[in-house]
């Protein structure tokens, strides 16, 4: 609101442009071993991922547990230092910056976290939790600040009285709203929502999803929406990226992906989702086995170990992400 400057306001009306561009992002976690705790290997949590998000749109990221979704999200916020690649935010490469520059950039980049129970400091009052990001960047009159925070609370659907309470007094859904309010406080351009509803009941999940949608419209927000539930992602996103073992295997628009999934993994994923309709009981593609360890990924296509359509070549070459239809990217030798 107040912190938004006018030139940017102007831009939003123009043709939608990329707010975030990720090029060949790599994020390896070192594995320490031996007595001297030297690096003995790497967990390739994110291995060469590229995508971009347009201003005002939502990019969804799905994939199974451990495939590197959170890591991607955290790397974008520079909560982690990427091993390689570029992150262009608003045209600026933020991979290498640090210190105060980084902190400034973070004003525009915020995150909503997965675990509503762990993402709020239990020792802080809700009011302080939401006010803290603001105080980190500017001095504010106390009264004014309180008013602002309360307006945010109201906006996310919490009573003003929540200001003086502590997180433990709230339910999961309410906590998630507090987390959203905190992310909103700095009036960011991009919000990374890392599985914001995974821990919630369906009834509450829908509240949060609705809220996020409303806020997007109201504040012209851009989302990177991470979830493991394809139906939720589909509900929220304009484009969807499917991740598998640190790789982006398919990126497509919402509609394309569902109507015409290209990658065998995406197909299996969609088919595995139990439809809440007994009439739709169908033959499913049931994948065998589990996701391999990213510390020791298979050679070639990461999916070939479980792929029902795997060919010989799959185990040798890693297929790059190609645009096979307009706006539909896939990394598979089949295309």
């Amino acid at each position: 609101m107040t912190t938004k400057d006018l030139t940017e306001q102007g831009k939003t009306n123009k043709e939608r442009e990329n707010l975030l561009e990720v090029k060949n992002l790599k994020m390896y976690y070192p594995i320490h071993g031996g007595f001297f705790k030297h690096v003995v290997g790497n967990v390739k949590a994110v291995d060469d991922v590229s995508f971009s998000i347009k201003k005002g749109e939502t990019m969804g990221l799905v994939g199974e547990s451990g495939c590197g979704k959170s890591t991607t999200g955290r790397a974008l916020l520079r909560l982690l230092k990427p091993t390689g690649g570029q992150i262009l935010f608003d045209g600026e490469d933020i991979t290498k910056i640090g210190g105060s520059r980084l902190r400034k950039t973070r004003q525009d980049l915020q995150m909503v976290f997965q675990d509503p129970y762990a993402s709020l400091n239990p020792m802080q009052m809700v009011g302080d939790i939401i006010a803290e990001p603001i105080l980190n960047f500017e001095r504010r009159n106390k009264k004014e600040l309180e008013k602002y925070v309360k307006s945010l609370l109201a906006r996310v659907g919490l009573p003003e009285s929540a200001y003086y309470k502590y997180a433990h007094e709230f339910s999961g859904g309410q906590r998630q709203r507090i987390g959203i309010a905190r992310a909103l406080a700095l009036n960011p351009k991009l919000i990374i929502a890392d599985e914001p509803v995974s821990a919630l009941d369906v009834s509450v999940q829908s509240q949060v999803l609705n809220l996020l949608k409303d806020l997007q419209q109201e504040f012209d927000l851009t989302y990177l929406f991470i979830a493991h539930d394809l139906s939720v992602v589909k509900h929220m996103s304009d484009t969807i990226g499917v991740m598998y073992l640190g790789n982006l295997v398919e990126v497509a628009s919402n509609k394309d992906l569902y109507s015409e999934p290209l990658h065998p993994y995406t197909q299996a994923l969609i088919s595995a989702i139990p439809e809440p309709d007994p009439k739709l009981r169908k033959e499913r593609i049931v994948l065998q086995g589990d996701v391999p360890s990213p510390a020791n990924p298979p050679t070639g296509c990461p999916f070939h170990t479980r792929c029902p359509m795997a060919q010989e070549i799959c185990s040798q070459e890693k297929p790059p992400l190609k645009e096979v239809r307009p706006g539909h990217h896939v990394a598979c030798v089949l295309y």
Partner: protein, 305 residues
Amino acid sequence: MTTNAATGPVKEPDKSLSPWAIARRKFIKNKLAMISTVFLFIVIILSLLAPTLAPHLSPIPDVTKVNISKMNIAPNGDHLLGTDKSGRDVLTRLLYGGRISLLVGASATALVIFIGTLVGSIAGFFGGAVDSMLMRFTDFVLNFPFLVFVIVLNTILFGIIDGLWVLIGVIGFLSWGGVARIVRSKVLAEKENEYVLAAISIGCSPAKVIVKHLLPNVMSTIIVQATLLFASLIIAESGLSYLGFGVPQEIPSWGNMLAYANEPDVLQGKPWMWMPPALAITFTILSINFIGEGLKDALNPKSLR
């Protein structure tokens, strides 16, 4: 939109207890812990008031003066706990001794907690090379056999610095390793919680993350550790004094008073000289331990999440 409606329990808007307040309530409900707190409080007050109280409790309130004519008197009306081998009033010395024993325990604890928390939280928060370096150093310090090093260091420093502070410093410097480790592991565990990431993402500096977000959450562990340490350092003081490597003899402390039990004639013949400090130590430690247990229960984070 439906989501705009207030969903919180609107019934009781004023009920908002901070985690500390909740812990306090729970602690107050714990009878044993409360009795212990009161007891410890009384012990502390009595010790602090020693100079004021002494003249009322004993005809010879001077704890340092030797009274040859009043030596080895068994407890009687004048000397409620008798006198010791220097003709000093045992009760008076008990009060003064409490000051020193508690002071040594408390200051050493404070020192230990300070160093331990500093090292542990920095190592835990930053991880990587900083962590390995600090933890190696911690291991190194932990490697010193405590008693042995205290004795050696105390012998060296004896007479160079005021004896009491030597003791506090030496005990403090040798004992922080455990706290550092515990704080580190707690910080590591706590760091996994997303609120730490959240704090970084909203632009908090590392120092602020540690001080404002991590430490309050690790504090419960630190407090519990502190009580345990307080107890064990009081025991350490008395043990060292008993062996003759603790508080300088001219300063009354419970340990120094207990050292009389070393004398061949005291143990069986003059129990009033060593029983009071022995009981004082035992009950003080007992109450501190109970307080520690109470705090552990009260601060149990499971009650919050």
